[in-house]
């Protein structure tokens, strides 16, 4: 009786929510013809069938297809598959029938952020949402089983489920999720569900294949740059190359009659765009457009002036403290031996293979944007601001990303531009695509820093004190000042912090880590790995320097400092053992080590390199270990670790944006190279999840790539490289 009453009230609830539901359906509906946008079509897949969702995370069709909603963005890192595994584990569904779709950020807002954060950065995709997405799966399972039990008129406790099939134990009757999904949608979700004990996981921890591969092999996968909408025009854009400069004037008449050109428009205060029938026409006309810039206040800024600014910070009085143990300065003063070194790390571009782009359609009532983004909600915010419309009249449809690496997360300059252009042509969808040159010159660059390190050793070669002074750019001061704590950017200290996701790997009796903030007028950004990249180079190279100064083996020297860091030590030992540290390497081959904790995971690498007499470097082999706590998909972790070496070593070998006249000098891959397959070492990956915590995967290993190679180069040549990238260094053996 009471149950019936509950069901009645549930029905009333449903009637009330139907209105929202209808809005939801409209929100997910994309007014595109079927062939125009495969990606967008996928987004609408669930609602097109008119199947009600079981809950926000799960929709099940009558044919047992399971659609799992994914809030974070897939950009190659495999999070789409990993998150689906988490939901499916608790849902107990048939994995072979799992599909995924993105809800829109507009719907997330309308539904009180039911899907949580859309932000896909900081290696947070899985570790930041594992709890609530698994709960989503478990709640849906409960409702589906309850619906089956109700239909049979049996207690739910007598039913079990596996691979989307519900079985009533006593009678052996079975049904499938597809058959009960509609009635399950009317069940009241349980308030509490128990998540599985990790030892009972069947899908989490298995190397299932990615869900998004097939279309990437045939050209069918639609990326943002590939989107085609009916009646769409194309835009090419040029912003003032000097940071802080503005658009002064342009002579539209000179290009208006060129083939296909429809409009020449100013975009915000610093850019001009040509809109044409095709992008090639738009780009051709833009190249021919006479433009004058007001170059603004930064024309005297250069790499040399920035270096000078940072050098001053190395010994300046003003500095924030990120980590302090004991009295490092005194300990160093009284040390038997001191070692001092200064390192410098350059600006770098994300250089995603797919240049920045966004497609926008604006009318006085509605603004819609289709774009590759790491954070749909931030993209929506950018669209709302540029559209001048209420949030409820704007939405963003996420399209597959051709790389992100942090460029498409905190920054949606390309979205704002697309909306500003579309706003000048109401009703017409306009796709804005940057040239590679625009992408290279208008990045949000890996911040520039220098670091001076001083270490003191006692008579036995023990490290008694370490002082690290970082001087350079804060990302937060530029991008998100509200995240700073009393003016301090704690992100600057990644890898050197006393505790947390980016804690230092060593127990140093007297330690002082400081940051003198120096912010040149070049926009910094979060760049895959962020500040751990250079900090790991600084500390891991310098620990090596100290080991050699102490006359000790770099592995033994590290081990002695890691007594209180067992997980860091475990990954270090794992790579040392597998690489054969301490045993002879092949002739001419030398080894280097690096270890760190980043994004809550423990990672280490041992690199094997040779350097010939002409100074030519060959990286032969890298052994890498990762302890991410729980390994949701070991195969995808291997991919990310392998890929992290390409990203980290490309940065080490070639990554450098130089500044002259207030502008970035590099314009394309010709001056900003990326490593090729011929330079790629063999990578052996050890995935060693120790359980009990959730660490990130996409970024941590990048941090150990460069220092492991640098330490091996020292072993090979006796040269300690402290300025990057390596292309600027003479590696001929000393």
């Amino acid at each position: 009786m009471s149950k019936e009453r509950v069901n009645v009230s549930r029905r009333e609830f449903l009637i009330n929510t139907t209105t929202i539901g209808a809005g939801f359906t409209l929100g997910l509906y994309l007014p595109l013809s079927n062939n125009e946008a495969v990606a967008a079509e996928k987004t609408a897949e669930a609602t097109a069938t008119e199947v009600p969702e079981v809950n926000a995370w799960v929709v099940i069709k009558p044919d047992d297809t399971v659609i799992i909603r994914i809030a974070r963005s897939e950009m190659g890192q495999g999070t789409l598959t990993g998150l689906a595994q988490l939901v499916a584990e608790e849902l107990e569904c048939d994995w072979s029938k799992v599909r995924t779709e993105y809800p829109t950020p507009g719907q997330n807002l309308a539904r009180d952020r039911i899907w949580g954060s859309f932000s896909t950065g900081g290696s947070q995709g899985i570790r930041g949402s594992h709890q609530y997405v698994r709960k989503g799966g478990a709640v849906a399972r409960h409702m589906l089983v309850e619906a089956a039990a109700d239909a049979w008129g049996v207690p739910m406790e007598e039913c079990s489920v596996s691979d989307s099939v519900v079985t009533h134990g006593p009678t052996g009757r079975t049904t499938t999720y597809g058959k009960v999904a509609k009635s399950a949608a009317e069940m009241i979700p349980p308030n509490e569900v128990e998540l599985k004990d990790p030892k009972d996981w069947k899908l989490i921890g298995t190397p299932v294949k990615r869900l998004d591969t097939v279309d990437k092999l045939t050209g069918k996968q639609v990326f943002g740059a590939d989107l085609r909408l009916p009646g769409m025009l194309n835009a090419a854009i040029k912003a003032c190359p000097v940071f802080g400069g503005t658009l002064k004037s342009y002579d539209a008449a000179k290009v208006q009659k060129l083939p296909g050109v429809r409009a020449v428009v100013a975009v915000e205060d610093n850019a001009v765009a040509v809109v044409a029938e095709t992008w090639w026409q738009a780009k051709t006309a833009l190249d021919a457009l006479p433009v004058t810039w007001d170059k603004g206040p930064n024309t005297e800024v250069s790499s040399a002036s920035i270096a000078k600014m940072l050098e001053e910070g190395l010994s300046a009085d003003d500095a924030f403290v990120g980590n302090e143990v004991g009295d490092a300065k005194t300990a160093i003063k009284s040390a038997v031996k001191t070692v001092e070194a200064t390192y410098a790390y350059p600006y770098q571009n994300h250089a995603t293979m797919e240049p920045m782009n966004a497609t926008a359609r604006w009318t006085k009532d509605r603004c819609e944007v289709w774009c590759p983004t790491q954070n749909g909600e931030a993209a929506l915010q950018a669209a709302i601001e540029a559209a001048g419309l209420p949030a409820s009249q704007c939405d963003v449809y996420k399209i597959h990303l051709g790389g992100g690496f942090g460029r498409r997360g905190a920054f949606h300059d390309f979205v704002k531009q697309a909306v500003v252009i579309a706003k000048q042509m109401p009703g017409t969808p306009v796709k804005l695509l940057w040239t590679r040159e625009e992408d290279m010159q208008h990045g949000h660059y890996h911040p520039i820093t220098q670091a001076k390190l001083v270490g003191g050793l006692d008579e036995k070669g023990n490290l008694v004190g370490l002082h690290m002074r970082i001087s350079g750019q804060s990302i937060l001061a530029s991008v998100n000042p509200s995240w700073m704590q009393n003016g301090v950017d704690m992100f600057t200290f990644q890898g050197m912090l006393p505790e947390g996701d980016h804690a230092i790997s060593y127990g140093v009796p007297n330690l002082l880590v400081e940051h003198a903030m120096r912010n040149p007028p070049v926009p910094p950004g979060f760049w895959r790995g962020v500040n751990i990249n250079q900090n790991a180079i600084y500390i891991e190279s310098f620990i090596d320097e100290l080991a050699y100064a102490a006359g000790k083996d770099p592995l033994e020297f590290r081990r002695k400092l890691m007594a209180d860091h067992p997980k860091n030590l475990a990954v270090l030992n794992a790579v040392a053992e597998k690489a054969g540290w301490g045993k002879p390497a092949p002739k001419g081959v030398h080894r280097g080590l690096a270890v760190c904790k980043a994004f809550a995971s423990y990672v280490a690498a041992c690199a094997e390199v040779s350097v010939d007499r002409q100074g030519k470097l060959k990286i032969h082999r890298i052994v890498a270990a990762t302890d991410p706590g729980y390994a949701v998909n070991p195969q995808q972790i291997e991919h990310q670790v392998e890929g992290s070496f390409v990203f980290g070593l490309s940065a080490l070998l070639y990554g450098e944006c130089t500044i002259e006249g207030g502008a970035v000098e590099q314009k394309n891959f010709s001056s900003y190279p990326s490593m090729l397959i011929s330079e790629m070492p063999k990578v052996e990956v050890i995935v060693m999840p120790s359980g009990g915590f959730w660490g990130g995967i996409g970024e941590p290993t990048i941090a150990v790539a460069a220092p492991a190679v640098l330490n091996a180069i020292f072993a090979a040549t006796g040269k300690r490289i402290r300025q990057f990238p390596l292309k600027n260094s003479d590696l001929r053996p000393a």
């Binding site: 950009m75 190659g76 890192q77 495999g78 294949k209 990615r210 998004d212 591969t213 097939v214 279309d215 990437k216 092999l217 045939t218 050209g219 069918k220 996968q221 639609v222 990326f223 740059a225 590939d226 085609r228 194309n234 083939p259 095709t278 992008w279 090639w280 026409q281 051709t284 250089a351 995603t352 293979m353 797919e354 240049p355 597959h400 990303l401 051709g402 790389g403 992100g404 690496f405 695509l433 040239t435 590679r436 195969q635 991919h639 392998e642 890929g643 992290s644 070496f645 390409v646 990203f647 490309s650 394309n668 891959f669 010709s670 990326s674 090729l676 397959i677 011929s678 790629m680 063999k682």
Partner: protein, 156 residues
């Protein structure tokens, strides 16, 4: 106006003579599998086959092409995604973001056309596509696996 043979079909395209093949494929013919990334023939994302050879379509003006040349794009590599490289790529889950992969696969397919059993050194010399996600080691394994798939196909 240009007449081209794309994926076995003759097509007429009405574009300015200087338009690169890449943009004819993408904008006139809707074949967006061939990607734009650098625009200067360096990164390989725009790789297609012209008479079986890997060519970078972003720097080839349409005026330099004629209808006797067989142009093949990723969409035309196989009818159903069954080219040995596509099978191998699927087996090894090669792509990450996937943006460079059509060009990577077309470069690898041209290599196999010329050299059915390439060594690692052959791969190093011929595959010069940029991949920022870092799929290189799986690309290498994928090419070797495709050779095995080819051999199995011939012996069965």
């Amino acid at each position: 106006m240009a007449k081209l043979k794309i994926n076995g079909k003759l097509v007429d395209v009405d574009v300015d003579n200087s338009t690169p093949l890449l943009w004819v494929l993408r904008e006139q013919l809707g074949l967006t599998g061939t990607k734009y990334s650098c625009g200067i023939g360096l990164c390989g994302a725009c790789t297609v086959h012209i008479d079986g050879k890997a060519m970078r379509s972003c720097t080839i003006p349409v005026s330099t092409l004629n209808a006797s040349q067989e142009i093949v794009t990723i969409e035309g590599l196989s009818a159903d995604g069954s080219h040995p490289l596509q099978q191998a790529w699927l087996e090894l889950d090669v792509p990450q973001c996937g943006y460079c992969q059509p060009g990577m696969i077309m470069s690898a397919a041209a290599l196999l056309n010329a050299n059915p059993n390439p060594s690692d050194a052959d791969i190093d010399a011929n595959i010069t596509n940029i991949c920022r996600c870092g799929t290189f080691n799986r690309v290498r394994r994928g090419i070797h696996l495709a050779v095995d798939i080819n051999k199995r196909g011939r012996s069965s």
